[in-house]
């Protein structure tokens, strides 16, 4: 697999696609081994992601809602990274800051180790980064975020740690099972962050999270006013309530065949979202 980048004027199309997701997971996979964390490699991969998010590219933003297989740390960490960068972008951080934020988010959980008491995960992660990085602004921030990630939620945190914390909380909640064993939808995860868990996070960050994800976050199924069901592909920066969607059923609820499917696009002006749906409410996906 390879990713090729060409510097083009701003706004030029790019398709980071799933290759980027794999590349990010490759970096994380390496991070579980003894040979240390590869900051250079991570930096290079994350540039594609940040470029895409800076442009508001649905292909990049849509990765936030990419299906998560299993309950693994990697996809969750990658999702945390994506959400954190999207929040940073909404806050107006520049490229260097977004780059540091992305690195910090990607490696914030490297201290998680079943052999280590959870209260030392932050410390272990910080030392892990220190042990495989050179002293620089970027790595210092990554160490700080790793350390603060597992500190008491009431403890003062750096701004990047706060961004990673809210992004990480959202990413952990998406797909987590509730008391009844049902997976939380992206909208429910967002609702949890904005509701019961809201006091943990700065109001400006909560607002930025919604602006980054939209009111109907990527990966969320929504019912439209004409009876169709659509999958939210990516948010639209100018209107958090009207995302880019892909219709997946007919108005009568019949799943669209391959040949009937249309490419995703902005929610048409004449359409509106009626409600968020769980996967179990989507015909053809009930098993999920």
């Amino acid at each position: 697999m390879s990713l090729e980048r060409t510097r083009k004027p701003r706004g030029a199309a790019t398709d980071p696609g799933s290759g980027m997701l794999e590349a990010l997971q490759s970096v994380l996979a390496a991070s579980t081994q003894e040979d240390g964390l590869d900051f250079r490699q991570a930096n290079r991969v994350l540039q594609f992601l940040i470029d895409g998010i800076e442009r508001g590219d649905p292909a990049a933003l849509g990765l936030i809602g990419a299906p998560q297989r299993g309950d693994l740390t990697y996809p969750r960490t990658v999702r945390t990274t994506l959400v954190a960068v999207a929040i940073g972008r909404r806050l107006g951080l520049d490229r260097a800051a977004l780059s540091d934020l992305a690195i910090a988010a990607l490696f914030h959980g490297v201290g998680r180790d079943p052999k280590v008491k959870p209260e030392y995960w932050g410390f272990a992660g910080a030392l892990r980064i220190a042990g495989s990085a050179t002293l620089s602004r970027t790595t210092l921030r990554a160490i700080e975020v790793a350390l603060e990630t597992h500190e008491d939620v009431a403890a003062p945190r750096s701004v990047l740690s706060q961004v990673v914390a809210i992004a990480g909380t959202y990413a952990r909640l998406v797909g987590a099972r509730d008391h009844a064993g049902k997976p939380l939808t992206p909208a429910q995860a967002l609702g949890a962050v904005l509701g019961p868990l809201a006091t943990r996070f700065d109001p400006a960050l909560r607002a930025a999270l919604v602006e980054a994800l939209g009111i109907h976050p990527p990966g969320q199924f929504v019912g439209l006013d004409n009876g169709e069901i659509a999958l939210v592909i990516a948010p639209r920066g100018d209107d958090p309530a009207r995302p880019i969607v892909q219709v997946v059923t007919t108005p009568g609820g019949r799943p669209l065949h391959e040949a009937e499917r249309r490419a995703g696009g902005p929610l048409p002006e004449e359409r509106s979202i009626v409600r968020d749906l769980a996967a179990s409410e989507v015909p053809g996906l009930e098993a999920a």
Binding site: M1, S2, E4, R5, T6, R7, K8, S26, Q33, D38, R40, N43, R44, V45, L72, T73, Y74, G92, L93, D94, R95, A97, S99, P114, Y120, F123, A126, L127, A130, G131, T134, L135, S136, R137, L140, I143, L147, S158, V159, L160, R172, L173, A176, R177, D178, L184, G191, A192, L194, G195, P196, A198, D202, P203, A204, A207, A208, V210, I215, H216
Partner: protein, 552 residues
């Protein structure tokens, strides 16, 4: 048509020549950026000239698009830089800085770099800075592409090689579920919550965002090493254990290495201070410090940088080197090797003296260095340290063919005990080099030593001695007086009295008398007394003159 084609060819040739020349200037500017402070007048001038030249070329020729391949750099399809030696194709042979420039671009994955007309000077600055940073071999977390990308360039365009992530398999079992919190039983409506956060109180939302961004600006503006110090304290606060200190010391040392690579001596010094919090005696990072010094620029570059540094920077550099401990010796030796200014070398020697006063044998390898300027510096340091046991190192240094080294060795011999000094004086005493033998005689006469006295006497008694310059011959007698003591009195008296009744005035008789007067011991005085009563007027006269000169 033919005329127009010729004109085009001329313009094309000029374009290629200008592009190659500009790349050379870029390579030099990168070197300056690496070796000098970003804001030094030299560096600023270098970058400004580079940007002006580029602007003029682009205005004349239009956009330049360089293609970077393993076999060289091309302006569109024309080769302008070929790695290695000049060939007959008209391309500029890349050597030194140019070769580094090509390697750097290719190594970090840049495959095309385009300069459109109207490119701001700030983007040329950014390019030079990024290349300068990336040219340090140290494993910087940001490579060239990342640095250029972060610079947010609007004109300069570059393409990079296809990215090939290393795919790996995980071996360990990761933590599968780390939700350390209860899943909430209720959820807010995102639309309502967002409206409350923004629309219901737009002013409060703005204040909250401004507060967050101000906090970020404060964090971002924090001095890097101060921030590192605070962070390290927090980590030590969690677990003040040897493992923590070792990890942080190693991490801090990477900063030291990077500062060395960039010849940023103040930062290197301050980072070393940070490191000392965890590794006061250097035990945790002994080898790593040696490795860090290997990140220094090539000796010539290091020397140039130090030669052009301010007194304060120079002092900081050598203060840092001393602080490094044993590892600092290599840095100081490199400075000695590369520097051209006496002031720089003197400062390096002073630092070596401070560093090695308690362990002069740390200079053992350097004493055998093939570079004369290094050995001269090291020998002078050994001479200032002055202790028993240094003569083997001086002997090694004395094997250097450079006369300057040999002179420095003889000077340094003044600081070692006379018995160790004697064997090393033999060669210089026999040398035809007047300066060397004169210095050897000066050192020989510093204190009485039977061996040295006999050595000098042997030279004086050699038939070839007569052929040496007069001032040298006198110097030998003076040195004999200084080193021989009573052991050479019989031989001097014999020279004084040589010829018996028929003795005539000679320089050797006078010199022997003067030497006896200078020795001044009871035995020497007795010998002069006997001379004064000698039947030969020449002998008596020599003794009288010697006594009078001594009295004067």
């Amino acid at each position: 048509v033919a005329e127009r084609t010729d004109d085009e060819a001329i313009v094309e040739q000029a374009r290629l020549a200008c592009a190659a020349a500009w790349l050379l200037e870029l390579a030099r500017a990168v070197r300056v950026a690496r070796l000098h402070r970003q804001q030094s007048p030299f560096a600023i001038d270098s970058r400004a000239h580079l940007a002006r030249t580029l602007a003029a070329h682009l205005e004349r020729f239009g956009e330049w698009s360089f293609v970077v391949t393993a076999s060289g750099m091309f302006l569109d399809v024309d080769l302008v830089i070929r790695p290695g030696k000049r060939s007959g194709d008209g391309a500029v042979a890349s050597s030194g800085s140019l070769e580094q420039l090509h390697e750097l671009l290719f190594r970090d994955g840049v495959r095309r770099i385009a300069f459109p007309p109207g490119i701001p000077a700030g983007e040329v600055d950014a390019l030079v800075g990024a290349l300068g940073d990336a040219s340090c071999e140290r494993g910087h977390s940001d490579d060239l592409v990342t640095a250029l990308w972060q610079a947010n360039l609007t004109h300069l365009q570059f393409e990079t090689a296809p990215y090939e992530p290393r795919l790996r398999l995980t071996t360990g079992k990761e933590v599968e579920h780390d939700l350390d919190e209860e899943i909430p039983g209720s959820f807010a409506d995102p639309a309502a919550a967002y409206a409350e956060l923004t629309l219901a109180s737009a002013a409060a939302a703005k204040v909250a965002r401004r507060g967050l961004l101000e906090a970020w600006e404060r964090e971002r503006g924090a001095e890097r090493l101060e921030a590192a110090g605070r962070l390290f304290s927090r980590l030590i606060g969690v677990a003040n254990e040897p493992g923590t200190r070792a990890a942080l010391a190693r991490y801090a040392l990477t900063g030291v290495a990077e500062s060395i690579a960039h010849t940023s001596w103040d930062e290197a010094y301050r980072t070393l201070e940070l490191l000392r919090r965890f590794d006061a005696d250097g035990a945790l990072t002994a080898q790593a410090r040696i490795d860090a010094v290997r990140c220094a620029p090539p000796e010539d570059d290091l020397g140039e940088s130090l030669d052009q540094a301010s007194d304060m920077e120079l002092a900081r550099c050598f203060e840092f080197a001393v602080g490094l401990g044993h590892a600092g010796v290599a840095l100081l030796i490199a400075a000695l090797a590369g520097a051209k200014r006496d002031a720089t070398r003197d400062a390096a020697c002073n630092a070596l003296l401070t560093l090695c006063a308690g362990d002069p044998f740390a200079l053992e390898a350097a004493a055998a260095d093939p570079r004369a300027q290094v050995v001269v510096g090291v020998v002078s340091v050994l001479g200032r340290i002055g202790a028993s046991g240094l003569s083997p190192m001086l002997a090694r240094a004395a094997q250097h063919p450079d006369p300057g080294v040999q002179l420095a060795v003889v000077k340094a011999l003044a600081a070692v005990p006379a018995p160790e000094r004697a064997p090393l004086l033999a060669g210089p005493l026999a040398s035809a080099d007047a300066a060397l033998s004169a210095e050897a005689l000066r050192v020989a006469s510093l204190e009485a030593d039977r061996t040295i006295g006999q050595m000098i006497l042997k030279h004086i008694e050699d038939p070839a001695f007569e052929g040496r310059p007069e001032e040298i011959r006198h110097a030998f007698f003076e040195a004999l007086a200084g080193s021989g003591g009573d052991t050479v009195v019989p031989a001097l008296e014999q020279m004084l009295l040589a010829g018996g009744w028929f003795a005539r005035a000679s320089w050797q008789r006078s010199a022997a008398a003067a030497a006896l007067a200078r020795i001044g011991t009871h035995a020497a005085q007795k010998a002069l007394d006997r001379g004064l009563k000698h039947a030969s007027e020449a002998v008596r006269s020599a003794c009288r003159d010697a006594r009078e000169r001594k009295a004067a």
